[in-house]
Amino acid sequence: MSAPSPAGGTERDAPPLSRLRSKHLLSAADLNAEEIVLLLDTAEAMQEIGTRRIKKVPALRGKTVVNLFLEPSTRTRTSFEIAEKRLSADTLNIAGSASSLVKGETLADMARTLEAMAPDLLVVRHAYSGACDLLARICDARVVNAGDGMHEHPTQALLDAFTIRAHKGSIAGLKVAIVGDLLHSRVLRSNILLLRALGADVWLCGPSTLMLPGSDRFGVHATTAIDEAVADADVVMLLRVQFERMHGGFFPSVREYFEMFGITAERLRRARPDAIVMHPGPMNRGVEIASDVADGPDSVILEQVANGVAIRMAVLYLLAGVEADEVEP
């Protein structure tokens, strides 16, 4: 199979790259701008596969992918699984409650056990930051971070960039306002890296108690004033308030949070008229976002979910697809 070519419609120089430099995808920082564009272009081609009558190509035939989801996840796990099946990989799912970790086995030992069965790819979701790095140090298999603690969620940031590009044509120079629980969000950390690499002007907004420490060193603007963040924004991205990661009162009540930071139709009027509204899900309606905005014409939230499959196909393919094999002995 030849490499998928960028789908038509956009005028972009064809990247000379055909694969990723890094063995793993642990962080959005593993990708440079050229690689990000390659991934987004590849995802466009992958999207077409999803429209076919038979939604399957043999790009990962004979490859074994283990989905190691040690923290509950519905959309990301499902999205990866569909992506793997469309690429004809052999997949195996291991969930936290069914794993030997509940019997007291360490992650390192579990990884060594899996490694003995020689998988090609590990797709990992874990409650602790850095768990994917730990696995990558132990395993020969390539590791894809599907969300580790409060650290990163690079495929989410890629699908967000893909969605933005589909609407705006390009990402350079766009004002992207990211609003919500900044402190606990892995989606935020990956998005900052990715959007900055592509030249976006990134604004963070949330309560002072949930601000990212050292945010001045991330190359972003940070404000607690929602109107300032949203003003003339091209993209308004909401982050879920992660009640499950909050130990201690970061804000007094959901009511007050919504009044100060919730995105309503009225607030959205300060953004550019063609602004899009994004949310990585799952949403807390009436906390981060008013229902009429979530379901309104500017919302691209369900598109994000749909794009997730294509992005994950692109990631898996570019990491472990047949073309990558050609350079192996």
Binding site: T106, L107, A108, H126, Y128, S129, G130, A131, D133, L134, D148, G149, M150, H151, E152, L183, R186, R189, L212, P213, G214, S215, R217, F218, H247, G248
Partner: protein, 440 residues
């Protein structure tokens, strides 16, 4: 083995306790210093001339180590910890009470003293728990701990969080002329934090511990020491605000002292990745904090360098960063690190380093040593300040391998460690150290 009596002839002896820094002889009789001076007459003693590039100092004392015995012998034992100490140039160590069971009664103290004597290497001074079970509520029987050999009390690993308990502890120890050593960290501000709160913590998605968690308790303890009259010693100080509080206490003649670890005056949170050998409590702080520690070492406001030697088994450190235990080892790296990073870089001169590693720890713990004045024990740390050390964790005598300094190349080495006139460690890699004979 060196003969006793002997006259040890040093091209350079550094003993700030006597104001000595230069060529000097030591007469050692029955494991004690009988005389100090230039060109001492032999009077029947055997002369031993040390190579010119070695420096004789009073035996170094690490006033903050974890020897893990009883109860956690898979991490370290008193014997392996004592062997590690002498290999690192420490003639004595003070061991924290967070063993299993906690060293909160004389029975545990006696066992530690007995095992240390059996090991026959470094002197081991137990530190008793300040409160029963180190639970921070009821004071231990401090008089009895003292009688069994404890030189201080501490709940190290756990802060004494309740201000009234701390007040009572400080009042009570004032009867025994011993300090309360506190791990200063406000538990509510620490929360679930695992690294210093700042940019690196945010980028790695790890929960942060602000420097203020330490500073508020140091400020409190300085104030309580003034109220209660007892001496407080701040363990492993890491934040610049804590140093400010200690300085302010000293200016007011409050009985406060403090120590800093090599990792806190060398590393910062900029170095953080997911390597659990960089996970310790207090965490590696910001560059400004590290700079403040260097200033405090240079200007005298920091009293001691201690390692907070905290061995853990490799399996425990191989967990996810959040789940791995806090702590790094330090006994076999501290002296070369201090020579390289403090002496050779001009932060402190050797006499000041000897104050930090020998004289002041002896003074704070009220133990013998710390000087080589006539009548003192003949505990010596002999340095090769210009010899090369390459840190190799795999060759440590400690059971622990959890060091952030593995592979570092340093200028400065320990040539030998002598306890009561007996060489207990001789570094084969240092030319000329063999004049002391084999370690025994």
């Amino acid at each position: 083995m060196i003969p006793d009596p002997c006259v040890l002839k040093a091209a350079r002896l550094v003993d700030p306790g006597q104001g000595v820094d230069g060529e000097c002889d030591l007469r050692i009789v029955d494991g004690r210093i009988a005389a100090v001076g230039r060109d001492l007459p032999l009077e029947g003693a055997t002369p031993i001339a040390l190579p010119r590039d070695l420096v004789v100092c009073p035996g170094f004392i690490d006033m903050h180590v974890h020897l893990r015995e009883p109860g956690q012998e898979h991490k370290e034992t008193i014997a392996s910890g004592a062997a590690s100490a002498v290999a690192g140039g420490f003639a004595a160590v003070a061991c924290m009470p967070n063993t299993t069971p906690v060293n909160d009664h004389a029975g545990v103290t006696e066992e530690i003293v007995r095992k240390a004597a059996a090991a026959g290497l470094a002197r081991v001074y137990p530190i008793g728990a300040a409160t029963v079970g180190s639970e921070g509520q009821r004071l231990t029987e401090i008089r009895e701990l003292r009688a069994a050999g404890c030189v201080a009390v501490s709940d190290d690993g756990h802060p004494i969080a309740d201000a009234l308990v701390m007040r009572r502890a400080l009042e009570y120890v004032s009867m025994f002329d011993m300090p309360v050593i506190n791990h200063c960290e406000d538990p509510s501000l620490k929360g679930d934090g695992v690294v210093h709160e700042g940019y690196r913590a945010a980028a790695l998605g790890l929960r942060g511990i602000p420097g203020a968690a330490e500073v508020v308790m140091v400020e409190r303890d300085v104030t309580l020491s003034e109220l209660a009259g007892g001496a407080v010693h701040v363990a492993h100080m890491s934040a610049r605000g804590s140093l400010r509080a200690v300085r302010s206490g000293k200016e007011r003649d409050i009985a406060v002292t403090c120590e800093v670890t090599p990792h806190h005056f060398i590393l910062t949170d900029d170095e953080l990745e997911y390597d659990t050998n960089f996970k310790m409590n207090p965490p590696l702080r910001a560059g400004e904090d590290r700079t403040a520690m260097l200033e405090g070492l240079a200007d005298g406001s920091i009293d001691a360098i201690a390692t907070d030697h905290a061995p853990h088994h490799a399996d425990e450190k191989a967990l996810e960063f959040d789940r791995a235990p806090f702590g790094v080892i330090g006994l076999e790296t501290a002296v070369p690190l201090a020579l390289d990073r403090l002496v050779h870089r001009g932060v402190v001169a050797l006499p000041r380093l000897v104050e930090l590693l020998a004289r002041n720890p002896a003074r704070i713990l009220r133990v013998e040593g710390g000087t080589l004045a006539p009548g003192s024990v003949a505990d010596l740390t002999i340095l090769a300040p210009d010899a090369a050390t390459e840190v190799a964790a795999s060759r440590f005598r400690s059971k622990g391998r959890n060091t952030p300094f593995d592979g570092w190349r340093l200028r400065g080495a320990v040539a030998a460690t002598v306890i009561a006139g007996r060489p207990v460690y001789v570094n084969e890699a240092v030319a000329g150290a063999e004049v002391l004979g084999a370690a025994s």
